[in-house]
């Protein structure tokens, strides 16, 4: 009889432990005493980086689909040009290039002394091979869709390549960040060879990826001799690996975890290249009325969202552009709408909803930060009489119902750009765009967009893009909230981590402080 009671208690306690998951285990884990020897100058010039996902798609840079894989392999590959931390392009494998008067012919002069990781020098043939490979449309869409406009890649001599286009494009150069690979090598899938500051050494599935410094790199060599990427999929284990010293650097850290870090780490705060907003289906009532959308903007206390759902990290935005895209970001739009419930009520009354209305927010349940944001918004909108029903859906239904099917009222997500260009961010809001999932229809915007993509003067084009951003803000296309912070935990003693306005992790500048 006693046995049964004990068994019962045990079972009840167990069930509870199961529900809270592994979180319970970490409570009684005392942080290991720090070994004094690790405080001294590092013996080995190497670090371990924690990443959340295995690189289980192709390691071939032209075929990689996962952002997480691209992020790591950025250290291994380079294109004719490569991105810089401030959002520009700088010549890499090409030393210099010229563009013809009609914007149809690009001539690249290759840099002397660039070598692949297998020791072979990079030749014009390799460049032609790599670009042709990306542009090959014999099996449907080419690997890089933007390369459809390539008419021909010609090898002029050992060090010169020309690319001719069928139509001019002011975005073309940014796609030439596509990796240059040795011609004819077919082992890229598993043993990739590139020209970057690090070379690929090995990958153990679900466990580690090892990169080593490439000694014959043409540019500034990497500081570290070796980087091991350790795959830690579970957020709690990641936290414990950081605390125990198994991991020295980790990016994309959730804010709650950043707050729990020990003194051995410092946080580098960057900005994610995406815009988090309450995206509004502009085609359905009552959101087809600009006054309703503006009212939503006025009823939103963005700072409170950042404080409550993001622990104070994040940068406010006022349109579909994030601050890391430097020259295209217009900070004056950030304060287009300031928190003002009285004004919101007034606008709602004008639009015929003096008592508010009921609305739904569809949120992808695998993104807790978006669900949290929706919860805060729902609470804030009560003040103006809007009653919000939150509908969490799993990611695949979000894609099919909201993004593709456009069957929704509002949704909270972060929208990014496929490339590091203003166009990639703004193109989706032109009325013809296939990915215009908010159904934004504005003639002025469409006209500005046509002007911008056919403009070859950089300053003029930037001005046009800014006008488009202003158009989105003035018409309250969406309730813009913020560009979320990208937090990186770095062990004290390491320095030099740089952010890019792209989803990449550049480790060539990371070093031990001397």
């Amino acid at each position: 009889m006693k046995k049964r009671l004990t068994a019962f208690l045990l079972l009840a306690a167990l069930l509870c432990a199961v529900l809270t998951g592994c979180g319970g285990g970490s409570a009684d884990q005392t942080p290991a005493e720090k070994d004094p020897s690790t405080d001294a100058a590092p013996v080995a010039n190497e670090i371990t980086v924690g990443i959340a996902n295995d690189l289980d798609d192709s390691l071939d840079p032209h075929k990689t689909v996962k952002a997480g894989t691209r992020e790591v392999m950025f250290n291994v590959f380079e294109g004719l040009v490569k991105p810089t931390p401030d959002g520009d392009l700088t010549p890499a494998i090409a030393e210099d290039y010229t563009v013809s008067e009609d914007h149809l012919t690009y001539t690249f002069t290759l840099r002397e002394g660039v070598k692949f990781h297998n020791g072979d020098p990079v030749t014009a043939e390799d460049v032609k091979y790599s670009i042709d490979r990306c542009a090959d449309d014999s099996e449907g869409e080419p690997l890089v869709p933007a390369f459809l406009i390539i008419r021909e890649v010609q090898v002029v001599d050992e060090k010169t390549v020309t690319i001719t286009l069928t139509e001019p494009s002011n975005e073309f150069l940014s796609y030439l960040t596509a990796a240059i690979l040795p011609a004819g090598y077919d082992g890229q899938d598993t043993a990739p060879i590139g020209t970057g500051p690090f070379k690929f050494v090995s990958r153990a599935a679900q466990d580690t990826i090892v990169l080593e410094k490439f000694d014959e790199y043409w540019g500034d060599p990497a500081y570290l001799d070796k980087v091991t990427f350790k795959i830690v999929e579970n957020a709690d284990s990641l936290m414990m690996s950081l605390q125990s010293g198994a991991i020295d650097l980790c990016n994309h850290l959730p804010t709650t975890q950043a707050l729990q870090l020990s003194d051995d780490f410092y946080i580098v705060e960057g900005c994610m290249s995406l815009v988090q907003a309450l995206y509004v289906n502009n085609a359905v009532a009552p959101f087809d009325d600009v006054r309703v959308r503006q009212a939503l903007c006025y009823a939103t206390d963005r700072q409170q969202i950042i404080d409550l759902a993001f622990d104070g990290y994040g940068s406010l935005v006022g349109s579909s552009m994030y601050p890391t895209l430097g020259k295209y970001f217009d900070d004056s739009l950030t304060d287009t709408y300031t928190y003002d419930t009285a004004k919101a009520k007034e606008l709602l009354a004008e639009a015929g909803y003096p008592d508010g209305f009921d609305m739904t927010m569809t949120v992808p349940s695998n993104y807790p930060q978006h669900v949290d944001t929706a919860e805060v918004l729902a609470e804030q909108y009560k003040a103006v009489g809007i009653n919000v029903e939150i509908i969490p859906v799993e990611w695949n239904s979000w894609i099919s119902d909201v993004y593709v099917g456009r069957q929704y009222q509002t949704t909270v997500v972060g929208v990014d750009a496929s490339a590091m260009t203003a166009r990639a961010m703004l193109e989706r809001f032109n009325s013809q765009a296939g990915n215009n999932f908010v159904n934004y229809q504005n003639d002025e915007y469409d006209a500005l967009f046509q002007q911008a993509i056919t403009c070859y003067d950089d300053a003029e084009q930037t001005a046009l893009y800014k006008q488009m951003e202003k158009n989105l803000a003035d018409n309250a296309a969406n309730v813009y909230i913020q560009a979320p912070a990208d937090l990186v935990a770095v062990r004290k003693g390491l320095e030099g981590f740089q952010f890019y306005p792209l989803y990449v992790m550049d480790l060539s500048t990371v070093r031990f402080a001397q």
Partner: protein, 271 residues
Amino acid sequence: MKNTRMNGYLKAGLILTGFLTALIILGFFWTPYDPEAMMAGPKLQGPTWQHLMGTDKFGRDIFSRVLQGAGTTFTIAASVVAIGAVCGTAVGALTGYFGGIVDEALMRLNDALTAFPSILLALVIISILGPGSKYNVVLALGLVFIPSFARVTRTAFAALRDVNYVKSARLMGASRRRILLVHILPNTMQVLLPAITIGFNNAVLAEASMSFLGIGVTPPDASLGYMLSEAQGMFIAAPWYAIGTGVTIVLLVFGVGLIGEGLQRRDKEVD
């Protein structure tokens, strides 16, 4: 035959469950703070006299949310058991009393349903009905709970079909409905009541698991399972969140479990 004597299990269970039920009923009418009001206190604060169970990441009062959440969980569990017990007993009565081909067909279907893990089955049903509604959770779990009740009551009905007082009733010309409802059903209570208490506990945990997985109750509504999943991510920063919520689930399940145990023991003592 009837035994109203209390034993220790029953007493303890009734007191614990009574206390919790009283709190839950109180929670329907009054909570110390609005359970959905953000910044009712500083965020992620430990238990204080103002906030008995502390506050969550939005500064909401966890005690108020536990009261409301326990109410949600309790209501869902009770409805699930009601659906399961009523439908299950009906199926059990038909198959147990009449037997034959209907019995074979229904019980094999029953076996097929039991073959799937119940949560998985509920997930499938919810994905068909569409997520994001409390009623769909109740419906899905209710359907999943039918087979176990059907099995238990079928055995009881089959056993009682041929006992003398049922035979006599049949000879006296009592209708089938009267035999099933008046003569047999009250005598199945001995197995049905413990089955209900066990079922209730399973339903509480099933709802908690579903909400924990994010397909049950939708935010900002509170439910114990959903709160527990929120608490998981901050176990180190705010242990009181997981503890307050988890202990409530344990007590709820434990109290009803004690009642079930007590009922079974009481019946054994009589036999």
